[in-house]
Amino acid sequence: MRRRDFIKLLGVASSASVATSCGLTPENSQKLIPYLVPPDREIIPGKGMFLSTTCTECPVHCGISVQVRDKVIQNRHRQVPIKIEGLPGHPINDGRLCIRGQAALHRLYHAERFKQPMRREGDGQFAPISWEEAYQVILQHMAKVKSDQRKIGYLSGRTTGALAELMDSFCTHVGVEKLPEYEPLFPASVVNASFALFGRKELPEYRIDRCDFLLSVGADLLETFGNPVQNSRRIAAQRKKGTFRWVHLEPHVSLTGLNATQRLTPKPDSEWAVIAYLLQRVHQSGRAKKTLPGSVLQEVPQLSIEKVEELTGIPKEKLQHLEESFFASDRPLTIAGGVSTASQNGAFLAALTGLLQWATGQVGATVDYTTAVDYSSVGSAAAMESWLKELDQGRIGVLFISRCNPVGTAPQSWQLHHRLKKADLVVGLADLPDETTALCDIILPVSHSLESWGEVSPRKDVASVLQPVLDPIYETRTEGDILLDLYRLELGAAETVDYREYVQKRWRKASSSRDLPTLMQQGYYSVSAEKRPVRLRETRAANLLRSARPQEKTEAAIVYFPPSLRFYDGRSRRLPLLQEIPDPLSSVSYGRWIAVSVATAKRLGIRDRDELRLGIGEWETQIAARIQPGLPEGVFVVYRDQLDAYPVHHLNPAGEPLSFLSGARLEKTGARVALPILSGSTSDHERGIIAHFKEEKESKHEPQVQMYEPHEHKVYRWAMAIDLEACTGCSACVAACYQENNIPLVGKEEHVRGREMAWIRIEPYYTGEEAEFLPMMCQQCDNAPCEPVCPVYATYHNPEGLNAQIYNRCVGTRYCSNNCPYKARRFNWFDHEWPEPLSWGLNPDVSLRNRGVMEKCTFCVHRIRSAKDAARDEDRLVLDGEVVPACAQTCPADAIVFGNLLDPESRVAKLARSGRAYHVLEELNTQPAVTYLSPHKKEGE
């Protein structure tokens, strides 16, 4: 008799056998809801529908393809987005997406979103009102203000495309003054310089893919500067070529710096000296492709290399090495930006950099103004101050503030929360509450871009399409519709065109040849940007250099306030997913901290998680300490988004607020802070977890004896290759994984207990000043240590080489995770809640895990399943590259390759055979299916 029969016999007597012998128990009795009328675009149940639109999490505006699923919500069919991916072929990001883009759904489904218009009552509390009422109030105030000859101001974040056009005509017709647009991360110095030098109020596109030597100064290319997705993609591509060298100068430490081939840390605000030196050397050595006019050249300070060494503190021989490699290359690209230009000498640095680009003949080659980003409508902080004065004099009666948070991000010293009260009525157009909306009198809830029609132009030669992927969840309207409504009500215009029609009319004009559906699918169309050649404007250049003379003072105890990878300028800091994912440098997830250099920490006896009192001038705050390798002595870093207000007030000549404060006072309060630091250690303790590439690859260990029967894989063995040379640690994969696999957000307390749930994590491993970032997930071992210890056979090796985890079979003994050397398994300590509407975004292909169940990466087995399904329909095998896990799909650096190891021609098989291939903890003979490609050693300080 078989075992099961025997158990049956035992079970016979139990009454349970009736209760369970049929699926129909009241618990799982469900409703079956039909459509009322079948939807016009045919939806295949269980299959995603992909709609093209544009990401609006930051002004870069990547094209995205949103997976929409048909779900039954409150007994109605509804199409809702469950996952966002980069839109292939889009000129901005070509199919890839950053961590913030991946998290966009958490804004759409955010619990705190404004659900209807609100008005501040006498007691300062907000009370919901109807749209009509809101409009009435606004119109009344506008009428009054107009009658007594005062202004109506319209302040918005950077606005482009259709909305910009509409806004202009609205302002002119309704008599509203459009204030200069406000972008906290506006690189004023750089744009200002390129205006002075080349007459362009633009940020050029830096064609890293065309250069062979990259010198970046302060520009955080991988976090926020320019187009991070594009940058990291191009850098990775260049690296694969091998000959590419990248030197990064930064006074602090950033993800970008740690990824550069060589990272040099000059003294704060002394970067200009290096560029000035290179500039004059270019001319002296006669290597200049375009010689600079004397009038300009004489404004460039003449520095000996010793002088540069003294100013910057960078040793002479490094400078010489830099100089050599700079001259060795024939297409050296220099980029200045970020914290280096947002500084006292930043304007000067930017100007010098422009000149160097010009002199090395890169303007028009690697510095491309034909595809530049137009910043003409964005105002510097200086420009902002000018209208604030008007506000003080009460000359601005009504103030619209749209899509920006000046109170939270502008210099604290501006006292915005007092000065905004000067206006009779402040109208906020926003989706989430922030410091600014807290001060508004009327709040008009703006639809999320996934609920909106629209068009933006990320670059002056590209117009990107926005189309709604779901009906608005709440009573929100798009900004375009709000403007049109006000326009109509104010001027009593008869024609009732809504923003959708407005935009589509524009598209028909723009792409008369192409019909709308294809345009919607493609997601963008190119507009003809003027191509007049760039020429140097001598006098203006000279004037700029003269006006922005550098100061040669060196300051001490400097705290930098750079923007962060996760929260940009702070606009994303309310998104739960981004808080859950740790910052790759410090691997801290929740909370605020100050990065302290190793030396300083030793000097002041500071340990991680010590609470520090940070004071600068009269400004003071309590903040946790996190020791940051690679940070120079006397320099500290606090991400600007971790502060409620921007403490810096001083502006540089270009009118850009400085990115740092000097003279910081730092002392321990003695208290400890529960700061969730997720990585166990900042170093791999020479265990070869990061195996740097050596030409002669000696195998670290003898091939070991097999204790178990080797698994035989017949058709597929799924495997992954991760190129550590390409990986920048940008953590986009982590966000993608969370969204794809319904991974719960457990919050700070659980993180402090070390109970994070991420299936894939970025481990930073520091060796001295350098760092490598290692994406770690379940290695799908062939000799998996977790498998033999599972008492209930919930985890096992499946015929396709996956280390399967059957959730409903798991009883949560946690032996498997104890036995996993990669710490890749996660345990559900609780039943996690998915409140509406957050639950709408759940992926129906992945089951929710409940309390007491172990979970982990499955190589996105549901994607494998659907690919096999498709292949089966066509009676073929799955093609190489047909299965793409969420992490690989989004990786901007294309570092992750997935495929079938049994197919010798597959990309992954080739990489696994390559000389750089190695496995983490190879000596354990776990035979992982994940192969890492070892990175080249960084050159270091």
Partner: protein
């Protein structure tokens, strides 16, 4: 003596009536577990499939091309029932739903646990007859579950048909 004569029979009685009670209790349990839920409209497959010979795919349109068979839209029902049998009470119920613009909240009979991935398409393409799992609906005045739909049963069939037995085939 008289008492003594009744002791044993009364023991019998108590024992047996105890058993009878157990049975009746069991009946309640069975009722609770195995109740056929009341459908909002008493739709008869017997008429539509048995008498009118409509194909399953006429209403369950996606059964051949997706994981779910799909329940017909109310509009689909109305396409015929505007005119056909419009006087019948059940059809009038349908009309009410249609006029109220409300979808019909059918009670789901064939439920699988949420962690199961089941593709109708695959099984249809493998030539499995609908009746294998749903029974002979053409003789069911009201649809009812006639298969346990339990894992053991699925596996039996997968074994017999040499279909894949890897857990990931069905578990998600």
């Amino acid at each position: 003596m008289a008492v003594k004569r009744w002791i044993v029979p009364s023991i019998f009685f108590v024992f047996l009536s105890g058993l009878a009670l157990v049975l009746l209790g069991q009946n309640l349990l069975w009722k609770r577990v195995y109740r056929q839920p009341e459908q909002p409209i008493a739709f008869s497959h017997e008429i539509h499939v048995g008498k009118l010979n409509l194909k399953c795919t006429t209403c369950h349109t996606t059964v051949e091309k997706s994981i779910r068979a799909g329940v017909p839209a109310v509009a689909t029902c109305m396409s015929c029932h505007k005119a056909v049998a419009a006087d019948r009470p059940q059809v009038q119920k349908l009309r009410e739903f249609w006029e109220k613009k409300e979808p019909i909240p059918w009670e789901k009979i064939h439920n699988l646990p949420p962690h199961v991935y089941f593709s109708h398409k695959r099984h249809i393409q493998a030539g499995i007859d609908c009746a294998t799992c749903h029974g002979e609906v053409r003789v069911m005045p009201e649809i009812r579950q006639v298969r346990s739909l339990k894992m053991g049963w699925c596996v039996d069939c997968h074994r017999a048909k040499a279909a894949p037995l890897d857990c990931y085939t069905c578990h998600k």
